[in-house]
Amino acid sequence: MYQPNKYYKYNEIVNLLENWKEHFPDNFDYKTIGKSYEGRDIFVTILTNDLSNYKDKPAYYIDANHHAGEVTGSSTALYTIHYLLNNQSDKKVNYLLNNYTFFIVPRIAVDGSELYLTSAFSLRSSTKEYSPALDKGLIQKDIDDNGKILQMRFKSEVGNYKISDKDPRVMVKRQPDDVDGEFYEVVTEGLIEDFDGVEIKKDRSKWGLDFNRNYPQGWNPEHIQKGAGIYPLSETETRSVADFILENTNIAGAMSYHTYGGVILRPYCTRSDKEMNKNDLKYFKELGEIGEDLTDYPCWSIFEKFTMDKNNPSAGSFIDFTYDYLGITCFATELWDIRAKAGLDKITFQQRLDQTIKEKEEDQIKLLKYNDEYFDGKLFINWYKADHPQLGEVEVGGWDRKFSFQNPPEKLLEDVCHKNMMFTFSHALSMPKVDLEVKNVCKESDKVYKLDLVVFNKGALNTSGSNLAKKLDKFNNIEIKVEGDIEVIGEKMYKIDSLEGYQKKKISFVVMTRNDKSVNVIVNSKRAGVVCKKVNLELERN
């Protein structure tokens, strides 16, 4: 039924969910959090031992496919569900499902991914037609119906590319002093809107929305931030996700999967590390080191190392929404890096812009070498003649980007899923969790007992979820009370603001019993779970 090395279409995902629910009714459930533009369901899956208690446990949230083409994320989310359900005797899985709840949203851009997986088209998020303020341009189209949208090259005296003399598949940029030779223009395979017979226009996408610029934190309108939509959370997909997260206040950690690059990204998107709470920064770096050890991906601040222009960083992202608004520690892993496979170093956006023509050529040569050695050259379609309705004879060719650059070829999928899932387990294990121990019961008189308890946090993060969350104050407040057939003398309920990682505190109650000698002690927190322990005062006393 479920296979790891596969990209799933929408109906196939629905089948998987139904199947899992049938086979694991005690710890798997799913429901819809909203509908997409085209009316498809966006599902969230709930995994924990004892589903009836899922709101009383700290929850780890995973989503994938904010971006239509980034289907590796979807596969990783499904892999995680499968792994958790089928390895319940594993110590780590067992601990996770006992202590925490998992909310896994396997695909957000359900419409876009469907188009991506069943046609030659590529798009950013939604299939809603949206490209305001953009002039007419070149629209991608599979002109020769081979099922792929590649590149077109044609000879031109003012072309700014030439064929590499090291590998004829590679197009290299023309040097400033290149006057002799054969030059080409290279553009995306497609049709030019309002073509005047001469000028090739820039790419324009009909589907210009970017879900990951549509969240409220730092949101900027279209003229500053491309793809941001008409207002924050204007899209049903993003609004459904935001509503879900806001409603489920027990979410204490999050991962939002993307491709590509082979980097574990962390907040902030729009601000420098200097502006982050020092202890939270320390935590992100510690987790990042664990992540690098597990995945070989470095952990980078988006602002510091994954931004094209620090003066205009990407606004309205999901990760800044969860961390900055809600104080949830969140990562966004860019899965898969073909460059690393080809033996190339990781580079930041800035470094990529600064690459010389020679360096770019070298990189392409190495990538093709990898392609030839491991994939029989199939990831690159060699240039072939084709007839273009507007341009006449052209040559079509280039990387089949969907399952080379943007996502791994299927046979490499499982490894990517597994190691990244392991990182989310490490992140989840650091989430806070309250627990309770009886330290002492003293019988003061026939009916009066003094109960000394220790309330502690079993997890590494503080019970509010982060230091930022502590400041926001919305996720503070641990309430401890006793209930039963008793009268509580003195303090009836204790409130603790927040417990640091592994911290413990002593709480005492004095109660007068009637007939029943047992009481229920309840510890209630927003993000570190709810604990209820029954204490028999007669049996426990010393």
């Binding site: 601990y95 320390k282 664990i290 387990f425 330290k439 502690f456 079993k458 505190k505 002593k506």
Partner: protein, 541 residues
Amino acid sequence: MNFNPSKYYKYDELVEQMNQWNKDYPELTKLYSIGKSYEERDMWLIELTNKNTGKSEDKPGYYIDGNFHAGEVTGCATAMYTVNHLLENYGKDKEVTFILDNFVVYVLPRVSVDGAEMYLTTAMTLRSSTRPYPFTEKQPGLHIKDMDGDGYITQMRIKDPNGKWKVSEKDPRLMLSRQPDDFEGEFYNVYDEGEIIDFDGVEIKAAQRLYGLDINRNSPVNWKPEHEQKGAGPYPFSEPETRNVANFILAHKNIAGLMSYHTTSGVHLRPSAQKPDKEMNKTDVKMFKEIGERGKEFTGYPHVNTFEGFVSSPQTGIFMDWAYENEGILSWSTELWDLLQRAGIKIENFKDRYTKKTFKTEEEDGLKVLKWNDEELDGNAFIKWRKFDHPQLGEVEIGGYKMKFFRQNPPEKLLEQECKKNMQFTLVHMKALPKLEISNIEIENVGDNVKKISAVVNNIGYQPTSGTEVAQKLKKYSTVKVELETNNCEVISKEKELDLGHLDGWSKKKVQWVVKVDDNSEAKIVACSDRAGKTENELSL
């Protein structure tokens, strides 16, 4: 009694040794107390110079102290080593003879006389003064104490499923930080060995220390109060120790160079502890760097701007910063003893020494230090974890490093080499002090009993005659004044005393007078400035 370079001296022994030096070298030394400590101990200072070449106040001065911090006894040892070296080698070694003939060296081996005594004679460890501060009584929480009576304050570890530590699988002595995703295994909490005041049976937190003063945050430069700078004291120079040192320095305007020893790290610190080089005086920074580079050849230690290369946040009230910014003295603070580097740990920037590296590096570094301990000291610096019945906590295990003569100071057998190479750093600096000399004296007959006197006044030292460029802006330290002192001689040219301003390092200026003489005329040129000394030449008219 012979000076022992491999020994840490207690107070009485220190005083005895200083008296011995004074007795053995009466022509080279002067010994006096600059004031009393909190517990009323005298702070003894020994002044070194060849008395036969002039008075100490007429010579450029170099000041050395050690042990501002109670536990940093290597500083005292290095100061003592320096005194001994200078006295023993005067007249035998060219460099030493040059220094004591031309300069005066003021050495205050121990500033925190009370604190160091507690450090050396009990298991206790503390920052500086034994004056209880900010509270006069022990506050609630964990106070360090030698619980098991073995003479050392180490650590206690207690098994706890909510513990933040775990034992290394590679060496059972080594405790490692629990990782955020460590959910199973044996965990421990680790505390300083001690007892808890007002223990509620559950929570263990380190208490505000009783001896909470840090007298190296007590000087007036950028001074900040307790809530912003721990240990700063109620007001600048509130403590007798710091006030005595300050009064001494202010009364000795000839001091142009300074070294205040600390431990630990193996780095030569220089101003500022507050701001980066680009906000400091460029000329002075260049001087610091050049002296540092040369001195580094002896010690192997890097030299850094303290803010940029040592502290993780700006530090206020630092004595070295006060001596430089307020008094314009070219000041250093060497952090002696480089255990980590000797164990093979590479240090990129000392700023990061307290931030945790990757979990892999934490274990690697921990193992390296243990290995060094095993190879160099037969493992003796580490007390293996063993069970102990703690009166409050029940069964715990006590163990850990004997920090005092391992981490904070070198073991005695390695003390001498540490002192020697760092002394050599200060000798480099001493030779760089400004110094006036008169040369090229020419006397010309220009008429009836009228003579023209020309000479060149030189600063033969590397530092300017003000000591630093900052000192020139402070205008507290006198410029170079050249006077023609005469007897039976009339000075016809405009001034008898010429003011040359300050002379740069390695520079000179011409001076001239015209005088009317007779048979009994006598004259001499006297050049002096606060910090470049006084020099004179008799003229034969």
